[in-house]
């Protein structure tokens, strides 16, 4: 949209996403990608996956990816605004729920809510994994890195940060 500050678009979008992101930040990756890369053209596929990698390599909650999207769109103030937009509605809702959940926790409809949302969350995570794999792909080598990284995490107890560091070393060596 011309004339509009893209940061305002991003913040408005995140406020909505914050309320539908059932299952955490990873479920909104496809939607962020749809808006930031395909729709508004704020960044390329490579920049999108690089920011995701940066957020994963830094300590802290993985919602920091949203902080970085905001940074890309509007510098440091953009990063802070995006963080606030992503956590604000969720915080308010969690605050309200924290005061109510003891009363409702064992109601049958509450169980239905949980059991009903669980498969959607799993589907969204699978969708995110597929999308990020495709976005990060630059050849058979990067597919191989994705597959090996996944296999290591599934089959061993190696800390994820070691996996990321190992991949970084392969990259510096020019192998990926």
């Amino acid at each position: 949209m011309d004339g509009r500050d893209p940061l305002i678009d991003l913040v408005l979008h995140l406020l909505v996403l914050s309320l539908v992101a059932v299952g955490g930040i990873n479920v909104i990756l496809p939607d962020l990608h749809r808006v930031a890369v395909l729709g508004e053209g704020w960044m390329t596929d490579e920049e999108f996956t690089t920011l995701f990698a940066l957020a994963q390599a830094a300590p802290g909650p993985n919602m920091l990816f949203v902080t970085l999207i905001g940074w890309k769109v509007g510098g440091i103030p953009g990063g802070l605004a995006a963080t606030a937009a992503m956590s604000g509605p969720a915080v308010i809702l969690a605050y309200g729920m924290a005061r109510l959940w003891l009363a409702w926790g064992h109601q049958p409809w509450f169980t239905a809510l949980r059991n009903g949302l669980a498969p959607l969350t799993v589907g969204l995570i699978v969708a995110s994994a597929a999308l990020l794999t495709i976005a990060a792909a630059s050849g058979w080598q990067s597919y191989a890195v994705t597959a090996v990284a996944a296999a290591i995490v599934i089959m061993t107890r190696v800390h994820p940060i070691i996996v990321l560091a190992g991949a970084g070393a392969l990259g510096v060596a020019g192998l990926v």
Binding site: L51, Q56, A98, P119, L120, L124, H159, V176
Partner: protein, 200 residues
């Protein structure tokens, strides 16, 4: 010695500063997800909640929208000291990691022209996708082979990956359908055998 908090009222002894510092420590120790560290710190080291209470809080937070760890942090903070507790815990969790990740981003922008840095991050991005693939794999296998969840999961994947529909629309349409089906499912189970829905 033994588990300290049989009930939540005990957690009101926790001071705000100690709440802030504990969540700051949790935020800084988590790489690629904070939840396991939160559990370790709150249940095993500080013993502010029992394992069962932690699972209870988490099960609520996982169906709330938004980042799970943020929900958990706020829920816990509220329990300790109302809105002040929520703010202290949330700021503890977020302030340092946000500062660090922004510093890294600025640094990255500075050096992104260096070919080795680009190569390294291209590879790290592929590995980060792998971490997500692993998480998806674990979640799918944990879900089991029941037809209802599998069909709904597949519907979400088709809608998001193939049809590229907005998340909001997908959740707004499939959410109520899925919850209604789960409700029937639970009712059928409760009719079949008594006393199975009393989850912790």
């Amino acid at each position: 010695m033994s588990v300290r908090s049989e009930n939540w009222s005990r957690s009101r002894d926790i001071r705000l500063s100690s709440l802030f510092l504990t969540f700051a420590f949790i935020g800084l120790s988590g790489f690629g997800g904070v939840l396991p560290f939160a559990r370790h710190e709150l249940v095993e080291r500080k013993r502010w909640v029992s394992a069962a209470e932690f699972t209870d809080i988490l099960s609520i937070c996982q169906f709330l929208p938004g980042p799970n760890v943020v929900n958990l942090t706020v829920t816990f903070g509220v329990r300790v000291d109302g809105i002040r507790g929520a703010v202290a815990a949330f700021l503890g969790l977020m302030v340092m990691p946000v500062a660090i990740v922004l510093a890294l981003a600025v640094l990255y922008a500075e050096f992104s022209e260096v070919p080795q840095v680009r190569d390294a991050f291209r590879a790290i991005a592929a590995a980060a996708a792998g971490l997500l693939v692993a998480m998806a794999f674990k979640m799918v296998t944990a879900m089991g082979m029941a037809l209802r969840p599998l069909v709904l999961m597949a519907a979400v994947i088709v809608a998001i990956v193939m049809l590229r529909l907005p998340l909001f629309a997908v959740v707004a349409v499939l959410g109520p359908i899925s919850i209604a089906l789960a409700w029937w499912d639970n009712r059928a189970k409760a009719d079949g055998e008594r006393d199975t829905d009393g989850r912790p």
